[in-house]
């Protein structure tokens, strides 16, 4: 006997038992058979048919009305069964697409990986989490020969696969620049030309580019329309927003950018982020930038990586564990 016949037999047995004893165990049996039906893709109309057959087997003298009503039910189940089949097929299709995207996302995160450089002067923490499978945020670190640390953080307007594809292009463009020898504004200007030539005009990329030079103890930075980050001064125990103006990348090939600089002292902190951090929503309202600073304050005695992890967990939780935008946060602490 194959599974189908076996299931049919147990169905009849459980039905008979239930009618005779009203036994809960028989109903539990029905649940089990039903799961087997689903597993073997038995359609609803076939189950109704089986029910009719079972009834006739148990009660050969069954009333016409009952049997006719069951035929009626069978007819009513046909369209339902078709819709169910279609749903199954679409589900399989969706799983296939999802697994393809998973592979792409895995490739992307491998390609885009940027190791946090080892340095004695800075403690660096970074977290970047995509809202969907593929990340439209980008960050990278480069350590120059002179010990200079360059940090790029970028966000593409839009998310998902198109954003992720554009980000791969940014990475390869930047790989070709002698970054540690260029000023931050020159890097943005070069990148702007690449983006303008190669990216769809409806897409914009914002970037904040910073360079820490140990010989001067300064942080140099430029922004292309990017969400401003913060600077924490240990001397005054206060946070300041980075003031940097510049047009987003990809709009006008002749755009120029400005480089600014600040002194970084021991126990100062630099916070760079994407708008996925500041545009976290609590219910219907956006969080205030002050709230972010409050959370950072709570954890700022910890190592940089622990701070960013805690901040991420905090915002993940207030958003019910569903990010609405890609989330990237980089924190640098000057330790000596």
């Amino acid at each position: 006997m194959d599974t189908k016949d076996l299931d049919a037999k147990s169905y009849t047995d459980f039905l008979k038992r239930y009618i005779e004893t009203r036994d809960e165990q028989a109903l539990y049996g029905a649940e089990q058979v039903s799961k087997s039906f689903i597993k073997n893709q038995i359609s609803p109309e076939e189950i109704v048919h089986l029910h009719i057959q079972s009834l006739l087997e148990i009660y050969p003298e069954i009333q016409d009305q009952i049997q006719l009503s069951m035929n009626f039910l069978l007819e009513a189940m046909i369209a339902y069964g078709l819709a169910h089949q279609e749903y199954q097929l679409l589900r399989e299709k969706q799983l296939r697409i999802k697994s393809e995207i998973d592979v792409a996302a895995g490739m992307q995160s491998m390609l885009m990986q940027s190791e946090v450089p080892n340095t004695d002067e800075l403690d660096i923490g970074v977290i970047s989490v995509p809202a969907n499978q593929m990340n439209g945020d980008y960050h990278h670190f480069v350590k120059g020969k002179d010990g200079a640390i360059s940090i790029a953080i970028a966000d593409i307007i839009g998310k998902g696969i198109p954003a992720a594809l554009s980000m791969s292009m940014i990475k390869y463009a930047m790989d070709s620049f002698p970054e540690s020898e260029m000023s931050t504004n020159a890097i943005l200007a070069s990148l702007n030309r690449v983006v303008e030539r190669n990216v769809d005009p409806s897409m914009f990329i914002t970037m904040f580019y910073a360079q820490y030079k140990p010989d001067t103890g300064k942080l140099y930075y430029s922004s292309a329309g990017h969400e401003p980050g913060f600077y924490y001064s240990n001397k005054t125990k206060s946070f300041h927003e980075f003031e940097a103006k510049g047009l987003v990348l990809g709009v006008d090939p002749d755009t120029t950018y400005v480089q600014s600089e600040i002194d970084i002292e021991k126990d100062d902190m630099v916070i760079l982020l994407t708008d996925g951090v500041t545009e976290c929503r609590k219910g219907d309202t956006f969080i205030e930038r002050d709230e972010l600073l409050e959370v950072i304050k709570t954890y700022m005695h910890l190592p940089a990586q622990d701070i960013v992890n805690h901040v991420y967990r905090y915002f993940e939780r207030i958003q019910n564990f569903q990010l609405r935008d890609d989330f990237t946060l980089v924190i640098l602490k000057k330790v000596v």
Partner: protein, 133 residues
């Protein structure tokens, strides 16, 4: 045996007539209750398509017999606007009638063999067969 019976489809009521004739033939051929219901549902879909999109046409039934098996063929013809993209209408999830109809993919699933020809501006002809198991 090679008999043919047709129902012409012009009003919604004709769909019921086509179903009835189809069910009778299916019953006589020895199809089981579930298959009778499936064939009838396929007839309904084909007839509704004619009624909704072509305005008029006809549904014909043929009994087909080979050495090994016998079955029932439904031929649906109309001289309506025709279908431009056949692959598209055969895609699951693509329905024009509000999403609740089984559509042509449904008909193909309810039956065993399915074939379709269509010419834009001239009409559509669908031939589909179910074999007695």
């Amino acid at each position: 045996m090679n008999s043919q019976s047709c129902v012409s489809i012009q009003k919604e009521w004709d769909i019921v007539a086509a179903r009835q004739m189809g069910r009778e033939i299916a019953k006589q051929l020895g199809f089981g209750t579930v298959d009778q219901a499936r064939i009838t549902t396929a007839i309904s879909e084909l007839a509704r398509n004619i009624y909704l999109y072509a305005g008029e046409g006809q549904i014909c039934f043929e009994i087909v017999e080979t050495l090994e098996q016998k079955g029932m063929t439904i031929v649906a013809t109309d001289s309506g606007p025709g279908i431009e993209d056949l692959s598209l209408v055969m895609q699951d999830g693509y329905t024009t009638s509000g999403g609740l109809g089984a559509g042509l993919p449904g008909v193909r699933r309810l039956m065993d063999d399915f074939d379709m020809e269509s010419e834009v501006g001239h009409g559509t002809r669908i031939v589909t067969t179910k074999w007695v198991r």
